[in-house]
Amino acid sequence: MVEEALETFCRLKTSLGVVKRENLLEAGVDADKLDLLVKNKLLEESKGVLELTSKGEAVLLNHREEFLHDHLLHRGEAKRPPGAMDHWMSCHHIDRATLKEFYDRLKIMPYRIEELVPLLDLSVGRTGEVVLVVGGRGLIGRLCDLGLTPGTAVKMLRRAPAGGPIELEVRSTTIAVGRGIASKVLVRPKIN
């Protein structure tokens, strides 16, 4: 999977600032694949430093969008349909401008998309870091006001059965969040 390698690149870029060939090799990307990436102009190598090309960016975004759709937000449904944008807008009640904003954030999201899970799936007692919220400004704003800004650690306290809400600990307060909302907040679980 070239996409996986691009995800790894992205994460390294965030933590290291500058990514060199050997960093990627250390992180488990094999040399053949790396060459392939450069050959296909997804990555660009100059003086040993690697950069994402705009083509690479597009491939990465496409991968993230697909992963988001098939594994995070619409699991168990059909695979991502061709006109994904419209599909997203109608499913999540957001307009085109908001969706564009979301794409922008998705593009520069500093973790591997594979690391994220919907808040709803965080197991009880686990802590995660808020990364992305799929929703309009109203929802994002309300969550921010209660302390769920990006990067905030949230702890799953309990969940109600049968489509019920979940309870979280955020900044020493307890907050109940409906299931619909909790499935649209993507978090990166902390390694215990």
Partner: protein, 655 residues
Amino acid sequence: MSDRPPAGEEQRHPITVALAGNPNVGKSSIFNQLTGLNQTVGNWPGKTVERAEGVLVYKGRRIKIIDLPGIYSLSTFSEEEVITRDYILSGEADVVINVVDATALERNLYLTLQLLEMNAPVVIALNMMDEASRKGIEIDPKGLSERLGVPVVSVIAISGLGMTELMEQVLARSALGKGRRLLYGKEVESYIANTSGYLRSSELKPPYPIDWVAIKLLEDDPAVKEIFLKDATLLRKVDALLKSMEAMHGEPAPVIIASERYSLSNRIAGASASQRVEPIRTVEERVDNLLSHRFAGYLILVVILGILFYTIFYFGGIASFLIDEAFGQLILLLRDPLYSFNPVFGELFLNGVVFGIGAATSIALPYIATFYFLLSVLEDTGYLPRAAFLLDSLMHKIGLHGKAFIPMLLGYGCSVPACIGCRIMETKRERLILGALVVLIPCSARTVIILGVAGTYVGIWAALAIYVLDLAIVLAIGRLLFKVLPEEPVGLIMEMPRLRPFKVKTILKKTWFKTKDFVYMALPLIVAGSFVVALAGYLNVINVVVSALSPVTVGLLGLPVGTGIALIFGLLRKELALIMLATYFGTTNFALFMTPAQMLVFTIVMVLYIPCIATFAVLIREYGAKRALAITLMNITLAIAVGFVAMKVLTLAGL
């Protein structure tokens, strides 16, 4: 706290003080401590929806205290936020007491920072110090005060600790004028400075602190942007700044600003508070686990609601009976002397005034008082939000969310607070749906009809069946309205207050005040109503009115013609219906003029048919005349339709 000043002195410098803060941090408790009034206090977010005012005289100064609804932020997502924001901006308050929950400093300071952005003259009341120390949280109020640049007073609102010191600081602060905001990170500050620069060169000069306006513009706040509609250049320049800020952070502008505030409040809270000992997993936590448990939680919910209704029926029934008997005796006792004094006066006084007072107390005291006593327990312990948590998915089926349960439960007491409580919902649409539903819930007065007619003469199972039928209708109508008013329902986002033990004294006090309110509201109407019926009976005009209603009562519903009297007086108050019926037929034994089937139909119609006049008034205030009328018409149609169907079904069943 009202040491009387020398005469005349108090008029000199009146001070206005507003209480602002997050929901459920003790604002109303402090308000009550300061003013000696009884603003509703309870352990769930969203109970204070109306601004309350009180006056305190301290050291010869008249101080007007204003209790604002709780908010998390000063953006404009909710009406409460708009109200508070406008109020603070108006500059009417000489001092803003920002009540802060010491156990959740970081989250609470987020609002504090926003108050400071508006240059509000803030004094911080650091409340819940008792709970903080119980949780092993140590706070350094002096350090906090230095970091925020405002006075900080530690208080415990429930015991009144720190109130004098708080007023001292308020007095001192009131002489100092506007406050100052705190600075955020360098980068955001440079954006704020740039925007402020643009603002200074704009023709438009809104009367607000310039930095606040700048921050709001950078937050993309629609209300503030509107001020500058005429200055397109400015908006364009700000938009360019905003876009570059967004590009830099990769987040929407409002999120960037919110994060900035939180990072500052995190730093200040971190430096000013420390966790002395790790909090032990407390009993409270285990109870909480049980209450929200996936099986036990629901079991407990059912048991609690069961106990609630059983106690109301049982205890209310006994007390109601005893009071009725007592008034019956009183009337017997008074009859002869009054009639011999003057027969007309005697008739009107006894059947009007004495009977009315008796009826009001026999209803208000037993049912209302019992309901509010038990409700207060649920309220003060913090159980209501737990129930809302458990019932969230059920409420989603009718397009609402868990919080809707709270006004619904209030509806079993009285529709008026239930309608006002609908403001707990976030959007207009949700408020309207919920408002249309809560008026269908049998309030205490309708409980009296259910128990007094169906329960007494047909059987307790019939009464229960009517409750279940009513609930089914509520859910069905909710489902229907959900379909008719399609829109993405707002999801639940609700802070869960800590569980707290309740104090019997507080509960009794609350029960007393709520019951008193009810009696004050109901008694005059009931007495006046009884008087009118007694008079109309005496003048023999009642039959005219009643027969005018007979196409509905007799024709459609198959009821005795006299039940029209109940429909008419039910408009005023539901409990009047029964009393009037008894007055009209001259007996409280309804079996003498109605068959069991008729009693069931009558009860169903009375439960559904129309909100009483007080509820109607509140509906108009909350939703406007048109919607209030629509809700009322829906009720009437529903009552007649369900009553008609019930009549047909019962006739077919051979009852």
